[in-house]
Amino acid sequence: MEYFNPGDLNEAYEILMKYGDAAIPVAGSTFFMGHREELFDEVDAVVNIKRLGLSYIRLEKGRLCIGATTTLAELHRTGLTAKGPFRIFAETVRELKIMEVRNAATIGGEVCIAGEVDMPTTLLAYDADIVIGSRNGTRTVSMSEFHKGYLKNALQTGEMVIEVQVPEPGRRTGGGFAKFERTAADLPIVNAAVRLTLGRGDRCSDARVAVGAATVSGIPQRADAAEKVLLDGTLDDERIRKAAAASNSIECVNDFRASAELRTLWVECAVEDAIRKALTHAGEEK
């Protein structure tokens, strides 16, 4: 196993291309080190990507641009997520109660792990785009297309995630995030992220409901049936409960953390909680 610490993107891309699938880009190293025994025989090149200038959060042309090596702690601390349309990102980080992981884990790493993590669920609800770089240039894949199955993503040989972009939501939009876990230190059993926009007469003019960590597919999914219930309606208690109940269209996984039955129940609870939070925030936004 070799170690590389490139100083610019082109150098990193050359190493990734040379070693192909046996190269792993690493920044926070939480996934790599947590799985080092399984990965030991598969990885020939560990490529540290922390010196590539990919740690930034900025607003550009109405999009929140987050560099791949930005840590969750940085995303939580920035003024850009303290209030306003992107506060959902600070709120999603806040639900990860492990300070040590917040300091290490990066948004690029979270996005690449198609599994039991929180941020991709929120990114799915916010129609985020993933910017991928390689020797051949850059390309953009939507969050909904980026995950291909449990621990599988759209990255091709020689590619890595360099940025995550989130379009600024329209006026009177609010977001909510909720999750269930066994203990604060454990991976999520269910998480849900909701984005709501209020239109004329406080009717819901746009809605996204995303559920993660619980699905049979292993990746975050939109709860289309729940979104349909929310759209064009006034968001009273009855409609909120009906939408949450409709999220049982998501097929839940049965594993040692929780049974499929329990997860189905908790998806409903998490979605209801997230809708209520999103509605409160949408009401506060002008």
């Binding site: 196993m1 070799e2 170690y3 610490n5 690493v26 926070g28 190293s29 939480t30 790599f32 080190m33 947590g34 080092r36 030991f40 560990v46 540290n48 922390k50 702690a73 109660k97 492990i98 300070m99 040590e100 992981v101 300091n103 290490a104 203990t183 604060a184 230190a185 454990d186």
Partner: protein
């Protein structure tokens, strides 16, 4: 093997490491600083927590090879001039441990909290140790110990 220099508790240590070696492994097995404990070695228990430039990290999930540019603090670096750190003193006085295995990680996480917030609310303390397991179940006393450590550090 890659030669690196680790700056631990103000002392420089020259050591050769492999890319997949964790900081926890190097601290304990190569440098003999066994105050830092390794429990789960997969980022679940918190017992290996150390400070890098004042921020807490799980040293089991951290590549040693990427830790050379930071000032690292382990539990051995907390006492000064033969005097225990206020948190160490408070953990003794409040019996903030039974077996003591989680204690170094708890104290390090608490130090990071107090350095940033000298007057933490109980919820702040609970959040700061959110990633730490105590299998003796001494959580209530640990919270009390940190509260007392904060008071001692403030001089009252």
């Amino acid at each position: 093997m890659h030669p690196i220099t680790l700056n631990i508790n103000g002392e420089k240590h020259e050591v050769s490491v492999r890319p997949h070696w964790s900081l926890a492994y190097v601290i304990r097995e190569k440098l003999g600083l066994t105050g830092t404990k390794t429990g789960c070695e997969m980022g679940t228990c918190g017992s290996c927590t150390v400070l890098l430039d004042g921020k807490p990290y799980f040293s089991c999930l951290r590549m040693a090879i990427d830790s050379g540019s930071y000032a690292i603090t382990t539990i051995e670096g907390l006492d000064a001039d033969g005097k225990l750190h206020p948190l160490q003193q408070a953990f003794i006085e409040e019996h903030g441990m039974q077996c003591g295995f989680c204690t170094p990680g708890m104290i390090i996480a608490a130090k990071a909290l107090l350095d940033e917030n000298p007057v933490p609310a109980e919820l702040d303390i609970r959040e700061a140790i959110g990633g730490h397991l105590c299998r003796c179940g001494t959580y209530m006393r640990i919270v009390k110990s940190i509260q007392k450590g904060a008071r001692i550090a403030r001089g009252n």
